[in-house]
């Protein structure tokens, strides 16, 4: 069998282990790639496979394939394979990288995929410094779809969609992806190489290996742009296409290293901080603030069992008047007291300027609709808010109005009104922003059922600053007093709310 002469030779260059032996793409073509004769993709595939072999990272490698002629990477590479949507490989690779930080993640993309439809994804993946290696195959044309213009198509180059040749005036200029990305601070290594001759090919192999190596060391974002022949679409022989890379493409896309921070990254810790170790599972409820043990017990027993509660409050004012907070304190106090509650804010641009309002319901029964379209208490922090909602107040309900004079045309039969200059009153107490809590005092008097302990607990939960808690508590007490003073002489006979509160 083997003679002594035979044993003297060893394989110096051969098919990489990282390739499958046979390609299951089509039953009849299992020896062959799907690439045209002389296509640069095959050459780049081989360089990548060799790098994976040499670095011993086959098991750790995840290859994200593009849409384009490179779509079938998974038929050839015996690694973990994920096929991405057109242009989205860097986004897909980003999440794989974040999910499996020890993996070697390669994003393989063509020029339509990367520089056109996926231009946002590549830019931001590079800018975040994702720990991925990108192989960018630039053949200046859309090949798979039959030769339409790409962002990388050369000026004057004919394509099926630039039949007269690319014209800068109408199609813009060839996009220099490597130069563009090299302006970012995060990438570790960006180089443009070519497949135009032996020297270029040897350099391309080195660059691809370096990108994969950087990635396997966790150094950050690397990109190798490869000027790659497409004999079929260029309508050239493979050898002519190779020459065209060297003699024509390279003039528009000069080769070279555009960014190299390898040394400083090796010296410094990786850009992306090491993941924080995951806490133990049984710690999660506490970390999320939902552990039963950490939640207050509340004062559910404080309300007599037979009392029916149905408080439907609308609170309205300008942004910054504490409308939402007033509602929150009310709802929190209701929850603490063992009631069913809901709090629904107006939101969106109203949060940032103009008016603000919220709906609050407190009830003993499950609350059907959290929307308060017909409140039995309206808290209006200003006149526009009053005018917006006053007609919706139920007969027997209440309007707490922040103003000395209640507009006469807003008065309605059967609706009780407490109109006071709450802002000035609060100002006199130390801060006009406590007006909402003075009005809260009046609401609490109307509601009648909320235990003081629940209100105090709610306030302390929502207002962290002790100075404000103290002021707010005084403000609420003042509001209660004012309400009692106003109605001590002539207590309203029956209101919607009090009318439904009956002792067992």
């Amino acid at each position: 069998m083997s003679s002594p002469v035979v044993a003297e030779y060893a394989v110096a260059r051969g098919k990489a282990k990282s390739f499958y032996d046979r390609y299951e793409r089509k039953s009849e073509l299992q020896h062959q790639t799907h690439f045209c004769a002389g296509c640069g993709h095959g050459t780049i595939h081989k360089m990548l496979a060799a790098a994976i072999d040499e670095l011993g990272v086959q098991d750790r490698t995840i290859l994200v394939g593009p849409v384009g002629c490179g779509v079938f990477t998974y038929y050839y590479f015996d690694v973990g394979n994920v096929q991405a949507a057109h242009g989205r490989a860097p986004a897909v690779a980003t999440a794989i990288c974040r999910s499996r930080p020890g993996s070697v993640i390669i994003s393989y993309q063509g020029d339509g995929d990367l520089s056109a439809i996926g231009s946002a994804e590549i830019l931001h993946a590079a800018n975040r410094g994702e720990n991925i290696a990108v192989l960018f195959v630039n053949n200046a044309i859309y090949s798979m779809t039959g030769g339409q213009a790409a962002p990388t198509t050369l000026l004057g180059q004919k394509s099926t969609t630039t039949p007269l040749g690319r014209n800068a005036a109408t199609e813009g200029y060839p996009l220099h992806v490597s130069e563009l990305l090299a302006t970012l601070e995060a990438p570790v290594y960006i180089e443009r190489v070519g497949l135009g001759d032996n020297k270029q090919i040897a350099q391309a192999a080195r660059a691809i290996r370096r990108a994969v190596e950087n990635q396997s060391r966790g150094l950050g974002f690397s990109l190798v742009e490869v000027l790659s022949p497409c004999p079929t679409i260029w309508k050239m022989s493979p050898v002519e296409a190779q020459h065209w890379v060297r003699e024509t493409m390279e003039k528009t896309f000069p080769l070279g290293v555009f960014c190299d921070r390898t040394k400083e990254r090796l010296a410094a810790p990786a850009m992306q901080s090491a993941p924080v170790p995951a806490p133990a599972l049984d710690e999660l409820p506490r970390i999320l603030g939902v552990a039963d043990a950490d939640l207050p017990e509340g004062h559910a027993q404080a309300i007599a069992g037979g009392q029916i509660v149905d408080l439907q409050v609308r609170i309205a004012g300008f942004g910054g008047q504490g409308v939402l907070l007033l509602g929150e304190v009310l709802a929190e106090a209701g929850l603490d007291a063992g009631l069913e509650v809901s709090w629904l804010p107006s939101y969106g641009p109203e949060m940032r300027s103009g008016t603000s309002n919220c709906h609050v319901r407190l009830a003993r029964e499950a609350i059907d609709s959290p929307l308060v379209s017909a409140p039995n208490v309206l808290v209006a922090m200003n006149e526009p808010s009053l005018r917006k909602f006053d007609q919706s107040v139920r007969p027997g309900g209440w309007v707490i109005y922040n103003g000395e004079e209640f507009p006469a045309d807003c008065r309605r039969e059967g609706v009780h009104v407490l109109a006071l200059p709450f802002t000035e009153l609060a100002n006199g107490m130390g801060d006009k922003r406590a007006a909402n809590m003075v009005m809260m005092g009046a609401v609490l008097e109307i509601a009648g059922v909320l235990p003081d302990a629940s209100v105090a607990a709610a306030l302390r939960h929502l207002v962290r600053n002790p100075r404000w808690v103290e002021l707010d508590e005084r403000a609420m007490a003042r509001g209660r007093d004012l309400f009692q003073q106003a109605f001590a002489a002539t207590p309203p006979r029956s209101s919607q709310i009090r009318g439904t509160v009956s002792e067992p």
């Binding site: 035979v6 110096a12 098919k15 062959q32 790639t33 081989k46 032996n198 090919i201």
Partner: protein, 97 residues
């Protein structure tokens, strides 16, 4: 190859079933020992063929070739007979070429 003849520095193996006959290896080969063969493979491609002598084992044809396994380059490990134990796998298989 007779034993008295000068030993070749390299041996080139071309897998005719995988080669698409693009000719890039011919262009790349420094000693120009690869030519387009006359035979068509079963897919109808004329495939590259090694002249049978003159390969230096430089391996550039392998890099230039776009096909994963169409070319295998063997290099002379040690003239006069390396031990079988140090000869990497694959060497024996190539010898039958």
């Amino acid at each position: 190859m007779s034993e008295d003849k000068k030993q070749e520095r390299g041996i080139l193996k071309i897998d005719e079933e995988e080669c698409k006959g693009c000719g890039l290896c011919m262009e790349a080969c420094p000693p120009k020992v690869i030519a387009m063969g006359e035979r068509l493979n079963r897919y109808g491609y004329r495939t590259a063929a090694y002249a049978g002598a003159g390969c230096t084992g430089c391996g550039i044809c392998f890099l230039a070739c776009p096909e994963p396994g169409a070319i295998t380059v063997l290099r002379l490990v040690k003239p006069g007979g390396a031990s079988a134990a140090t000869a990497p796998e694959g060497a024996t298989a190539c010898a039958s070429n």
